[in-house]
């Protein structure tokens, strides 16, 4: 007996129209859009379930009711203007039998506001004319929120960019002409947008760089897509300043190279700090070397000068020998003084700190100047001392030495006479700031670079230790000493000491 297989179901090629209609209705009912069908009077004759989320009522309960009063049932008063606008749009659709759209807020039964974008479609049947109106509304609240937050992010970024001072962002076309000059560029370069747009990028570079370095950068970008370098750029007033420059290719929406994006970061401050660290390290190394050498010279020098002094005490010394010994003695004395200074420079004497009023220290130093060999010229001393100057922690002797050193230097810079201006003030960042400015011959840039280096001197009789000792003293006080000078105009020392 053979097995009977069930016969296959007959294939029905026709659609079950009833079933399709049912599922279509179900889909409409469950749609996430508001779907309403109104008669020509504006009463709801059909709608999907979505309306329940708005009204909090079963959809059957809204059937037959006027559309506007259903949609604006909650907080209708507040939405009066919107209601009128919506009605006007509806009237237009009815009158001219044309579709319209409208966007407005609705409040649901849970008091939540929804932004709904409506499409109004008149349903006409010739020759009867308008039969009804189909309303389809999409809740676009979230979309709108997202748009708002995008706008907010945009604005925040714009704010951030316009407040950035260390960065400049600018764009050129492939020929190197500036096409965009934004974010910090005006602040950094001093050029206004309208002065510089369409000008060639080389205007921001030094003459030498414009010829070679810039070409190199662009060739690197063309090869690798991006190039980063440190380079000097030029401000509108001609001043050079160091930047960290990042250049990348700018691609247009079609994927073709359209230009170059430049991002420049001003690194003047970083360079300054690097230089200071370098300088401080150099001084420390020299100090160590000096101390080591001085200690080694110490004993032999002591023995030599001691023996010579003993010989000089001999009663029956031939005059010639005595003269020679005296010369040798004077010269070893010179070495002794030099070694002494050297050790003073390198010593790590912990300052004896007390609360000091720098104004008083300065007043106390001025009479001491008369003990120093000063050029016989008429020098006028101007004092502008802040009456409320905050005290600092300092070693009186050491700080006196610093001021005497600087003042003696100032005198020596003005053999024809001049003016010394001493000023004290409280700085915003917690320092007593002292400036001592003379109207002397000034210091050239080459000399200025080495001014605090030990043994560096331009004076015939200088040991080159004075200012290096000053430098060390101010450093152990956790302060700073700077010098500005212009040849034939004068020199200004700026000393900062932290408040006590």
């Amino acid at each position: 007996m053979g097995v009977r297989f069930p016969s296959p179901a007959p294939i029905n090629m026709e659609f079950d129209t009833q079933q399709i209609r049912d599922s279509f209705h179900e889909a409409i009912d469950n749609s996430n859009a508001f779907i309403l069908y109104l008669n020509s009077m504006g009463n709801i004759i059909a709608c999907n379930k979505k309306i329940e989320s708005l009204t909090g009522k079963k959809k059957d309960q809204v059937l037959g009711r006027y559309w506007l009063s259903v949609l604006y049932n909650n907080h209708g008063e507040q939405n009066l203007i919107k209601q009128h606008m919506f009605k006007a749009v509806m009237d237009d659709s009815i009158k001219y039998k044309r579709p319209n759209s409208f966007e407005g807020a609705l409040v649901d039964s849970q008091e939540h506001e929804h932004l709904v974008s409506w499409d109004l479609t008149p349903v006409t049947e010739e020759p009867k004319g308008l039969m009804g109106m189909l309303l389809v509304g999409n809740d676009v609240t979230q979309l709108k929120d997202r748009e708002e937050s995008f706008k907010k992010i945009d604005n925040t970024l714009k704010n951030i960019f316009s407040n950035i001072k260390e960065y400049a962002l600018y764009v050129t076309n492939l020929d190197g002409n500036i096409t965009y000059y934004g974010m910090g560029s005006e602040i950094m370069f001093g050029w206004q947008k309208n002065e510089i747009v369409f000008k060639h990028i080389s205007i921001l570079h030094t003459l030498e760089d414009a010829a070679s370095a810039l070409q190199f950068i662009i060739s690197q970008v063309n090869a690798k897509g991006e190039h980063e370098t440190e380079i000097d750029l030029v401000k509108k007033d001609g001043q050079h300043f160091p930047v960290e420059l990042t250049v990348s290719r700018f691609i247009d929406p079609d994927g073709k190279p359209a230009g170059y994006i430049f991002i420049a970061k001003d690194i003047t401050e970083r360079r300054k700090l690097e230089y200071q660290v370098f300088q401080a390290e150099k001084m420390a190394a020299i100090g160590q070397l000096a101390a080591g050498m001085a200690h080694e010279i110490n004993n032999p020098l002591f023995v030599i000068s001691g023996r010579m002094e003993m010989m000089l005490e001999g009663k029956r010394l031939a005059k010639k020998i005595k003269d020679n010994l005296n010369i040798m003695n004077a010269q070893t004395e010179r070495i002794r003084k030099l070694v002494d200074r050297l050790l003073k420079f390198s010593r790590k004497t912990i300052p004896r700190l007390e609360n000091l009023n720098i104004n008083e220290v300065i007043e106390g130093v001025l009479p001491l100047l008369s003990y120093h060999k000063l050029p016989a010229s008429s020098v006028e001393i101007d004092r502008v001392l802040a009456p409320n100057l905050s005290p600092v922690r300092g070693d009186l002797n050491q700080l006196q030495e610093v001021f005497i050193n600087i003042l003696v230097n100032a005198y020596q810079a003005m053999p024809q006479g001049g003016k010394i201006a001493i000023e004290t003030r409280n700085s915003q960042d917690g320092f007593a700031e002292i400036t001592i400015a003379d109207t002397g011959h000034g210091i050239s840039e080459d000399v200025l670079k080495n001014i605090f280096m030990p043994f560096f001197s331009t004076k015939k009789e200088g040991t080159g230790l004075g200012l290096s000792i000053c430098y060390n003293i101010i450093k152990v006080h956790n302060g700073s000493i700077d010098i500005e000078s212009k040849v034939n105009e004068g020199t200004t020392f700026i000393i900062k000491l932290p408040f006590a």
Binding site: A291, A294, H295, I297, N298, N299, P300, L301, F302, V303, S305, G306, R307, E309, M310, R336, V339, D340, L343, K344, S346, R347, T349, I350
Partner: protein
């Protein structure tokens, strides 16, 4: 009366210079090249004055000073300092009972007058 001085320094030329200078002034001088040797000498005989470098090889000048003051508190100890004398060391040696210090950066005449000043009480 001439009193006995022990000179302690680890460099022979320095020892011999002090030896000559002090003998010229009629002091009785002995020398030691380290703190250890100095303590040994002090253990064997009494010295009126010990003139000792603050920086020594072996035990430091400060340690030697402390031990001398332990064994023979009546001994006058004068420390010798180099050019770059360290104020910290000087303060510590004062606390430990040294009577004074003379610096190798001083002229000989001043060294001797300082020496006499610090030993004035012995007369």
């Amino acid at each position: 009366m001439s009193y006995k001085v022990l000179v302690v320094d680890d460099e022979a030329p320095v020892r011999s210079l002090f030896d000559d200078l002090l003998k010229k002034e009629k002091y009785i001088v002995k020398t030691a090249d380290s703190g250890e040797e100095a303590l040994e000498a002090i253990g064997k005989e009494d010295f009126d004055v010990v003139l000792m470098d603050i920086k020594l090889g072996g035990i430091s000048g400060l340690e030697a000073l402390k031990k001398i003051k332990d064994i023979k508190p009546a001994t006058t100890v004068i420390m010798i300092t180099g050019f770059g004398y360290d104020e910290d060391l000087i303060n510590k040696s004062k606390e430990l009972g040294c009577s004074g210090y003379i610096g190798k950066n001083m002229p000989i005449s001043q060294i001797m007058s300082n020496f006499k000043l610090f030993t004035k009480h012995l007369k």
